[in-house]
């Protein structure tokens, strides 16, 4: 998301599941949707039946790969080398979609002359701070803040030429040296996928954790995005770059800001240093151009939704009530790993693990356990007694030494409560309870409501309460037995004076006359009646035949099914592929024919008339100031560089073949503590690359599946995939128990000997070596019906091995590459 946002304007799946069926070539990379997003294969299957091709790029041969026309086995963490090579191929062979690139990307923008890239580092690097000064990473302007462009793409410092120059390094030979993919296969893939560059053809990229869980994750996705832009695959049916979201409602939860750096609707969280006042916040966070000029309306409506009548123009709409981040990690707030360190340091004293099980899922578990043990209290809200709830009696721990007081609250399952779930395709879908909660279990909403009401009461009654107003004045009015529809209606937004639901976010105001809990959702519940709840709409009609189903649920924003859809037509508003038109300009009628809700300025705000195509050309990516997608990201919105270059994972058995002087991401955050140990580069103690993955049959940390006998029987025990060669070399037979260890810890797993994993031959030309890769699922632990093995005194959680080094932007840990050793247990 931290990659898609700065590139396209929104951090979300651009198309949606059904739309996969419209694709001519589906490229799955860094994801395994057959296993983790099974339903996608309904639509992929349809596409394949219509003659589409499927490419799967993965270090392991997966159940997705089993369905592929072309399977590319690449070394984990090397995607950038492959994709820069593909982009290079597309540029060198003139296979890119020229009109698209000129009109819809910032390829023609000219970059400041100070900008440079040498030996693996961009200009402005400060080795002491391990950070960049971003001032040169910007557009050359005409002096009035208007970027200079060269639509011929010939200017040596235009984005296109800069990319062309750097990417020319990424030859198929180099790609092979980095990725281990034979160069013939690289070329085969380049040929197949670049065919989608023809106008009218659509290629889609599906990615997930295989792309993100790297210290270079953001840039890996940047490399996919650039290829998609060059081929003109964004904003069209069957195209897009589709981030397959994880947890069933993770899209909804991030929309609602279950992230450390934003408030609902993807607005930055106020920061103590940068935004001491509302004025600072609005000034600094509102860009001069793009749809985001409306941010004050959304932000102030949000404050109104929170404090309603207590939020007045006089008190800056209660802006001061809002806690600001700033104390947290380097002033950046607490993402997960920094939070663990703060707990370990004693800065954070209590933790609510609400619907999560970090005692299995967190990276470098031994550090996590230490952090949990340092808490005063821990409250787990869960369906099960998870590893987190019993972390104090895990194998090897002495409960007497752990002082943390633990509370476990039983929560109702998703099928036992009413509410909405937002899927990966941004569809908000309403659900009804199918069963009554078990025993004492209550819904999450019930608990939150109770908690809020109790806190309000405490703050009201306790005279010694410090800073009572933010909680005391909270607008909290959902009843004792909270009504989820009231919450939904508040999210949609209403006018404060007459309590009318707003039609959508265009009706929001920055004067405090409207309230809205999450502006991007605005419009999904536009009336007070339950029938107005569009998330519950179940119209199965598909007038366009493109699988858009506009009457089924509600897709944010304003029910757009495919975002950036201005790019599905040319400058004149005519579709690249007339058979698959999302919108089309009818010159005679002087209007847009619309199959989907236009995602551009199609109405002239002055005249309220439909605007001709020329007028909306520069709003194709209307959330970005340029109005165009970014091949080059200015101003350090991505911290390690404006475009992707290959760095190795932190733990790696090879010297970086592309930039030997710059082994890994220069701005990566490396934690130093007794429990944060790392293997050396090419460490002889840890000679194998390890990666972790998911299985269809288990859910995440396993609480949801290891406790269900039907699921448990499918994958009852922890295992490790190893190649037949490795097995032979080590005398390992299938099913043997192995002890796998990293610099941080060890875990037991049974040997699954399979040709689906293989060694990689990589390295600087002339210095190639062959290194085996092993792969482990991460669903096992030490609590529940099954744990992962027969021994009750073992912890089968793989994250005892993984490092807590994070991507510099998202801090997502590098779960997908680290070094291990293994021996027979």
């Amino acid at each position: 998301m931290a990659s898609l946002g700065p590139t396209f304007g929104r951090g979300a799946m651009t198309n949606h599941w059904n739309d996969l069926a419209n694709s001519d070539c589906i490229l799955i990379v860094g994801a395994n949707p057959a296993e983790n997003h099974p339903i996608s294969f309904k639509h992929i299957g349809t596409a394949l039946e219509k003659g589409a091709k499927l490419i799967v790029v993965d270090p392991r041969f997966t159940r997705s790969a089993a369905k592929a026309d072309l399977f590319i086995r690449l070394r984990p963490g090397s995607d950038i080398a492959l994709f820069n090579c593909l982009s290079n191929y597309v540029i060198q062979n003139n296979l890119f979609h020229k009109d698209y690139v000129v009109n819809y990307t910032n390829a023609s923008y000219i970059i400041k002359s100070g900008f440079d890239f040498q030996e693996g580092l961009f200009s402005g690097f400060d080795p002491a701070k391990k950070a960049y000064d971003f001032s040169t990473w910007d557009y050359e302007t005409d002096g009035q803040d208007n970027p200079l462009t060269d639509p011929t793409l010939q200017h040596p410092r235009c984005v296109f030429q800069l990319l062309k120059q750097e990417f020319s390094r990424y030859t198929p030979e180099l790609a092979e040296a980095v990725t281990g993919v034979p160069k013939e296969q690289v070329l085969a893939m380049a040929k197949l996928y670049s065919s989608t560059g023809q106008p009218g053809k659509a290629g889609t990229i599906m990615y997930a954790m295989g792309a993100t869980q790297h210290s270079t994750g953001v840039q890996i996705i940047r490399s996919y995005s650039i290829l998609q832009l060059l081929l003109g695959n964004m904003g069209i049916p069957g195209g897009g770059i589709n981030a397959l979201r994880g947890e069933s409602n993770v899209q909804g939860s991030t929309d609602m800001a279950l992230l450390f750096h934003v408030v609902p609707g993807y607005m930055a969280i106020p920061n103590a240093a940068n935004h001491p006042t509302l004025k600072d916040y609005l000034e600094k966070e509102t860009p001069k151009a793009s749809f985001w000029v409306n941010k004050p309306k959304f932000f102030i409506s949000l404050l109104k939704a929170w404090w309603l009548d207590a939020a007045t123009p006089e008190n800056n709409f209660a802006y001061d009530y809002l806690p600001k981040i700033g104390k947290g990690y380097e002033g950046g707030g607490y993402s997960w790993v920094p939070m663990m360190h703060a707990m370990d340091n004693g800065d954070i004293k209590g933790l609510i693990a609400w619907g999560m099980n970090p005692a299995v899922g967190s990276a470098n578990l031994n550090h996590t356990y230490a952090a949990l043990a340092n808490l005063e209290w821990l409250a787990a809200f869960d369906l099960w007694e998870t590893e987190t709830a019993v972390f104090w009696k895990r194998p090897g721990a002495n409960p007497q030494e752990i002082k943390t007081e633990v509370f476990l609250f039983p929560v109702a399952d998703a099928l036992e409560k009413e509410g909405s779930i937002s899927n990966s395709g941004r569809w908000i879908q309403w659900r009804y309870p199918a069963a009554k909660p078990q025993g004492d279990a209550r819904s999450d909403l019930w608990y939150v409501n109770r908690l809020a009401l109790e806190l309000k009461k405490l703050y009201r009654e306790d005279l010694r309460a410090v800073c009572p107003k933010p909680i005391g004045h909270l607008y909290w009015n959902y009843g004792d037995n909270p009504d989820v529809h009231l919450v939904a209606k508040e999210i949609n937004g209403f006018t404060v004076a007459d309590r009318k639901q707003v039609a959508n976010f265009l009706a929001l105001k920055d004067d405090g006359s409207t309230a809205c809990g999450c502006w991007i959702y605005s419009g999904f519940y536009p009336g007070l009646d339950k029938n107005d709840n569009k998330a519950a709409a179940r119209d199965k009609k598909d007038p366009s035949g493109l699988g858009l189903y506009p009457g089924w649920a509600f897709s944010w924003p304003v029910n757009r099914r495919i975002i950036y859809n201005r790019c599905s037509v040319d400058a004149q508003g005519q579709p690249w592929n007339p058979a698959k038109a999302l919108v089309r300009w009818d010159d005679a009628a002087h209007k847009w024919i619309r199959n989907d809700v236009p995602d551009f300025k199609w109405i002239d705000p002055a005249t309220k008339m439909e605007a001709p195509p020329e007028a909306s050309l520069a709003t194709a990516y209307l959330m970005l100031p340029e109005g165009r997608a970014r091949l080059f990201i200015p101003k350090g919105a991505t911290r390690e560089g404006p475009y992707p270059v290959h760095y190795e994972a932190l733990e790696c058995p090879f010297i970086n073949p592309v930039y030997p002087k710059q082994q890994s991401n220069p701005v990566v955050k490396i934690w130093k503590s007794k429990l944060d140990q790392y293997a050396q580069i090419c460490d002889p103690l840890y000679p194998y690359i390890a990666t972790t993955f998911r299985l269809t049959e288990h859910w995440q940390t396993g609480a949801m599946t290891r406790n269900l006998p039907w699921q448990a029987q499918l994958f009852p025990e922890m295992f490790i995939e190893i190649s037949p060669n490795l097995a032979k070399a080590k005398g390992i037979k299938p099913g043997d128990w192995l002890k796998v260890s990293s610099a941080r810890g060890s875990v037991l797993a049974r040997a699954q000997v399979t040709n689906r994993v293989q060694a990689f031959r990589c390295g600087l030309p002339g210095m190639e070596t062959t290194v085996e890769m092993v792969a482990l699922p991460w669903h096992f632990g030490f609590a529940g019906l099954i744990t992962g093995g027969p021994d009750k005194n073992q912890n089968y959680a793989v994250n005892q091995l993984s490092p807590a080094v994070g991507d510099a932007n998202t801090m997502i840990p590098e779960y997908k590459v680290f070094l291990v050793n293994l021996e027979k247990a």
Binding site: A34, E35, P38, I39, F41, K42, G45, E49, F61, R63, S64, A65, A66, K67, F71, T696, E697, L708, P709, W710, Q711, A712, Q713, L714, F715, P716, E717, F719, P734, G735, R750, Q752, V753, T754, N755, R756
Partner: protein, 273 residues
């Protein structure tokens, strides 16, 4: 109209949702399993698992890997050997397709298990009151207009429920429209007299090495039950023939003995006969 299910294994992603859905609908107990090297788990069908996915990995000569996911369950034969075999007619083929089992009749002889060419019926070995168990084609769901649980659950439409004849036609359409993608045979169309479950595969079951995992390719087109029925058809005639012969010979013997006795008596009495 007889119903069928088209199992397009090229569409199957091996997610095993069908396995779980089947257990859920049929209220089957979870079983305790251990690590399975092939991923297939449980490793065999049983009275607690009416269906399962076989994972088949193969290494091609060029070093590439193939991986196939094959669902197994009762085939619901048109003319089922199990039905022919059962001495108490506990198994029945319904007109709409399913081969169903009546708990109250079964004596537990397990002849159906021996007879089934696809090795489907399973026995509740661990119970003191054991019954035969196998996929029911969700006859109970079909009776109320629902599709089988596995087909309803399958996320990829690898399991298509419908009219058997139409599915056969659809299967052949797929084969013809995607040359190279399918082994040109609809397994189940003819084998063993035809089955309600129909398979499309990328390679023949023989090539997949599943010939002895319940997908025999050498069964021919005659339903196995025919052999038993032919035999039974002869039984009355054999009985009559043997009976007649026995009775005849017996009568002749007896007549001879009487004559002999009479002759002896006559001799004894000195009379000429």
């Amino acid at each position: 109209m007889s119903k069928g299910m088209l199992i397009d294994t090229t569409r199957c992603i091996g997610c095993r949702a069908c396995q779980t859905a089947c257990k859920s609908w049929n209220n089957l107990p979870g079983v305790k399993t251990t690590f399975s090297d092939t991923w297939s788990n449980p490793r065999y069908l049983s009275s607690a698992d009416f269906t399962r996915i076989i994972f088949r990995e193969d290494l091609h000569a060029d070093g590439t890997v193939g991986w196939h996911f094959i669902k197994r369950q009762c085939m619901h034969c048109n003319d089922p050997a199990c039905v022919s075999a059962c001495p108490v007619a506990a198994l029945q083929k319904l007109a709409n397709g399913p081969v169903v089992y009546d708990d109250s009749r079964c004596i537990g002889c397990r002849y159906c298990m021996m007879a089934c060419p696809f090795q489907i019926p399973k026995f509740q070995w661990d119970s003191a009151v054991p019954f035969i168990r196998k996929c029911t084609f969700c006859a109970d769901r079909q009776a109320v207009g629902l599709e089988p649980a596995c087909a309803t659950t399958c996320p990829t439409s690898a399991l298509l429920f419908g009219d058997r004849q139409e599915l056969i036609a659809a299967a052949w359409r797929r084969i013809h429209q995607n040359p190279g993608r399918y082994h040109p045979e609809v397994y189940g169309e003819k084998i063993a007299g035809g089955t309600a479950k129909l398979y499309l595969t990328a390679q023949s079951f023989e090539a997949l090495g599943l010939n002895h995992q319940g997908f025999r390719t050498d069964l021919g087109e005659t339903p196995q039950g025919v052999y038993g029925r032919e035999w039974m058809g002869k039984v009355p005639f054999v009985a009559l023939a043997v009976g007649g012969l026995t009775l005849g010979l017996y009568a002749i013997n007896r007549r001879r003995a009487e004559l002999a006795a009479a002759e002896a008596a006559a001799k004894h009495e000195g009379k000429e006969v």
